[in-house]
Symmetry: C2
Subunit: 296 residues, 2 copies
Amino acid sequence: MSETQRSLPFSKIALIGAGLIGGSWALAIRAAYPQVQIQLYDSLEAHRLQAIEQGIVHATFDSLEQAVAHVDLIILAVPVGALPDLFSQLIPVMGPDTVMTDVGSTKQGVIESAKEALGAAFCHFVPGHPISGAEKSGPLAARADLFKDKRVVLTPVAETDLTALEKVKCLWELAGAEVHMLDAAQHDRVFAAVSHLPHLLSYALVEELASRPDADLIFSYAAGGFRDFTRIAASHPTMWRDISLANREALLKELDAYSLKLDELRSALAKGDGPALLTLFQRAQIARTNWSSGLN
Amino acid sequence: MSETQRSLPFSKIALIGAGLIGGSWALAIRAAYPQVQIQLYDSLEAHRLQAIEQGIVHATFDSLEQAVAHVDLIILAVPVGALPDLFSQLIPVMGPDTVMTDVGSTKQGVIESAKEALGAAFCHFVPGHPISGAEKSGPLAARADLFKDKRVVLTPVAETDLTALEKVKCLWELAGAEVHMLDAAQHDRVFAAVSHLPHLLSYALVEELASRPDADLIFSYAAGGFRDFTRIAASHPTMWRDISLANREALLKELDAYSLKLDELRSALAKGDGPALLTLFQRAQIARTNWSSGLN
């Protein structure tokens, strides 16, 4: 038995939700630690069948109670909007010491609802967010290397049990991820800026163009720049509705800061102010080039 | 001699500007028709040296007059902002029947300045715009297959000589492109929507984030969605300043339509209106998915 295998902190895991993230994490854990037992609860029969077919889990249940019986970890891999109800449903059926973690893209709201619903068990909940995804979703999109060399952010609070935190951290590292700790409020601000806002901006552009009478003509001339800019507009609408609502305050601030910048740009354009446009474009180009060169 | 080779309508071509587009077109023409002679005028010595080294042209000149002497086609592959001056400089040195074409991303302004500067020679100017590019620029980024199966839009006006138009069309087809005709005003509206606006939006996001005190932290958590959304913010700032100014009217209209859509989205978010957000995201997702499936 290798060092890696001996260090696995859980022997039986309940996966709640076999989407892209949950499915990929399960595949990665199984690849790193074949002895672990993973059982799935997913309300969709198609997901349960696909999860078995894809080798994502060992067993599936259509009852939450059965799926979480005798497990030492529960992975909540559902959209953030589904978490509050799920916490309430888990309390009567889960073991008192079972560690829980989530993969939600926002953290303050999740922590609040966990605190409210879980009571004494709240200390065993480790809030998490893997920085990895794709516009595809569902078990068929899951892959064992989705988190390899990607960041995972954990946002523990004062009450979080340090042993539970350490175990969840270890599990993500087994999946190949690099684990970072952030304060939950800081997490939500940062991701409103680099992830949630771009999704809104991309959705808005595509919807605005699609609503025009000559949308077909317009789209027929769209090329590579449009393709990349709008790739995230093909993301899961329900998931992004939930994320937007869950991170509403931070996202509104980002949207307002961005609108101010657009106003500045519009004003420079309306005045024909070439130097102002050039300065803005140059600053952006330098920052983007530095970022993609890995300088940040 | 093959059919393709016999059909080449020009024997000696002056390329003005050895950037990505001009360089790639020259490479494509030479690959399809090795007998053609292409000579370059570029004000940058580095570009002239690289164009020779990369096999893009046969000869280079640091004088416009020498480069255009005895050619039957002049390809103006410079940023749209440089075209008005170039037209004026060409008139005293070019042959009276020399065909000219450009590759500018906007067309109405280019046509106006060509009409003003060229006089009787205006009928030999064929306004063009290849729908292909990359965030890279310069002769080193040029490649012979850049236009393969890509669209090229030509926007002739009433005065345009039909033989000149047919010859330029033929040349683009030799480079592997699919040639479409559009009215210049319609061209500018369509490209303001699918290309120029996304560039502005992407530049604005990166510049706004880069200007913050905690920009390094923010960028360090940016991932795949951000990468794609902001790829075009690494585009050539001078070129995009020129395009923005040249297509100012259409671009301002697009910016305003987009800002209205963002206001609608902000209002739904501020009210916590999940159904409105979901509807907008779903419409965008469907349109984006249809577009990328090639249904448009």
